[in-house]
């Protein structure tokens, strides 16, 4: 590892695991109900201050649903005073115009609203809640109040055919940015992968729709679209490198280099209640573990591309090979790449609609807590 720690730029504050929606692709841990404790307002403020002092400029309030925290206002005010650019990442559930206006006045910079689909029926089915019309209403308030707005659609097998409509909907709602965010297969999404991973043909159609939109549309909205990494021959440079730019704090105060890392075994992630952010970022064993290249084994260790993708995602390597030090199996050079090809193959013939999705809720989560205890994790 290089001796100089990298510069922290991003702080993601997961304020709570509580959420009124039940998205089956949620990135929260399966056993989230095992961690009901939440940091206090004062503890969060200390985290904000310490991360800012280390140089973090971008701040995301997420969760769960961050609006559930009644002290969100206080945290927004503090983050403006500290000079953060603050992003509220929300499902918009229960958000009123008054609350939004208040947040604007306190200095919130930007709001990202997630949609599950471009039609009410599918959206509300996937969220397992009646939310679609309200989300649209909130989107108009966001623009009225002068926020920049990102609309985020999480894409998968069940909604990918709506991609052209999603883009039209984003134009109609005057989004400044639209993120067509491919589901990342961790947490609940990994659990539901067979039902969520799109087929190659679906992806080709989706890509064609995005290309067509780009050719025809000439307005100011920006479109971000990335294809699922399972269909690539090289992995993504996950998080821009392990503990290189960004730090995540979970509702109960665990510091992570990315939101999926909590599931990695053999790593004990430090708690912000026991250590300063500076200690955690610069010195902790967990944050240093996969920095640089010393931890790598074949084929990454002497691969000329390692500076580009850092060997891909540690969590994906662990989930698919049982060993977090492997190359991300998405890489063609990985000895485990076969597995990815097999998973892709299975997306073609099956009528996957018939397998039920596992929705993200506390009852399901408690089931996973039991399982993980039994398996000794």
């Amino acid at each position: 590892m290089s001796s100089e720690p990298p510069k922290l730029l991003w702080l993601l504050a997961e304020l709570t695991y509580s959420c009124p929606l039940q998205c089956p692709y949620c990135s929260n841990p399966l056993d989230y109900s095992q961690y009901p404790a939440e940091l206090s307002t004062d503890e969060w403020i200390r985290v904000l201050r310490e991360a800012r002092a280390l140089g973090a400029t971008q701040l995301g309030f997420s969760g769960g649903e961050p609006l559930v925290r009644r002290d969100l206002e206080e945290l927004v005010a503090e983050s403006r005073a500290l000079g953060y650019y603050s992003n509220l990442i929300t499902s918009a559930y229960g958000l009123t115009k008054e609350r939004l206006k208040g947040l604007k006045e306190l200095g919130l910079d930007h709001v990202q609203v997630s949609f599950q689909a471009s039609t009410r029926t599918l959206n509300d089915e996937l969220a397992a809640a009646t939310v679609f019309e309200h989300k649209k209403q909130v989107a108009t308030w966001i623009k009225e109040l002068g926020f920049p707005m990102v609309l985020c659609f999480v894409l998968h097998r069940r909604n990918l055919h709506q991609i052209a409509d999603m883009l039209q909907m984003a134009v109609a709602l005057q989004a400044d940015y639209v993120e067509l965010a491919t589901t990342q297969y961790y947490g609940w999404a990994f659990q539901n992968r067979a039902q969520l991973l799109p087929s190659r043909r679906q992806l080709q159609q989706a890509e064609a729709a995005v290309t067509k939109f780009r050719e025809e549309y000439s307005g100011p909205m920006k479109v971000y679209y990335v294809v699922p990494d399972y269909y690539e021959s090289r992995p993504k440079a996950c998080m821009g490198g392990w503990a290189k730019l960004s730090l995540n704090v979970t509702p109960d105060g665990v510091a992570l280099p990315c939101h999926a890392a909590r599931q990695l075994p053999d790593l004990s992630f430090p708690k912000v209640t026991d250590h300063s952010i500076k200690e955690i970022w610069n010195q902790s064993e967990a944050f240093n573990r996969y920095r640089g290249f010393d931890w790598m084994q074949s084929p990454c260790v002497d691969c000329p591309e390692r500076e580009k993708d850092f060997g891909g995602c540690r969590c994906q390597a662990y989930l698919m090979t049982g060993d977090a030090q492997q190359a991300d199996p998405v890489c063609e050079k990985s000895p485990h790449h076969e597995q990815v090809l097999k998973i892709i193959e299975q997306t073609e013939p099956m009528d996957l609609q018939e397998i039920p999705l596992t929705f993200r809720n506390s009852q399901q989560s408690k089931g996973f807590c039991k399982e993980s205890k039994q398996s000794g994790r």
Binding site: L54, T57, Q58, Y85, N87, D109, P148, V150, D176, P220
Partner: protein, 95 residues
């Protein structure tokens, strides 16, 4: 493409964009939703002046007064066209 940039219109940073000095980086940065660009000194000097009250021509005039020894016109024009292309700045519409 620089020919397309209209110097007679008032310009402002695009909605949701903010410029600030970052001690940790010893530089100005442009902040926007989920992103950030580190600015060099001249970019910062130009963007700071995009506050909605001035036209491109007025910005060039101001900068030329501050740096009388160099002809900045072409550079500023190029930069503004590029900044518009990247959606950092917007033309202010008369209300």
């Amino acid at each position: 493409m620089t020919q397309n940039f209209n110097l007679e219109q008032k310009i402002a940073l695009r909605v949701g964009h903010r410029i600030q000095w970052e001690e940790a980086q010893q530089a100005h940065v442009l902040l926007f939703p989920e992103g950030m660009i580190k600015l060099n000194e001249s970019a910062a000097e130009i963007l700071k002046r995009c506050d909605g009250s001035k036209t491109g021509a007025q910005i060039i005039e101001e900068l030329s007064a501050d740096y009388p020894d160099v002809d900045l016109t072409q550079d500023v024009l190029l930069f503004l066209a590029d900044a518009q292309e990247k959606s950092w700045i917007d033309v202010v519409r008369a209300t």
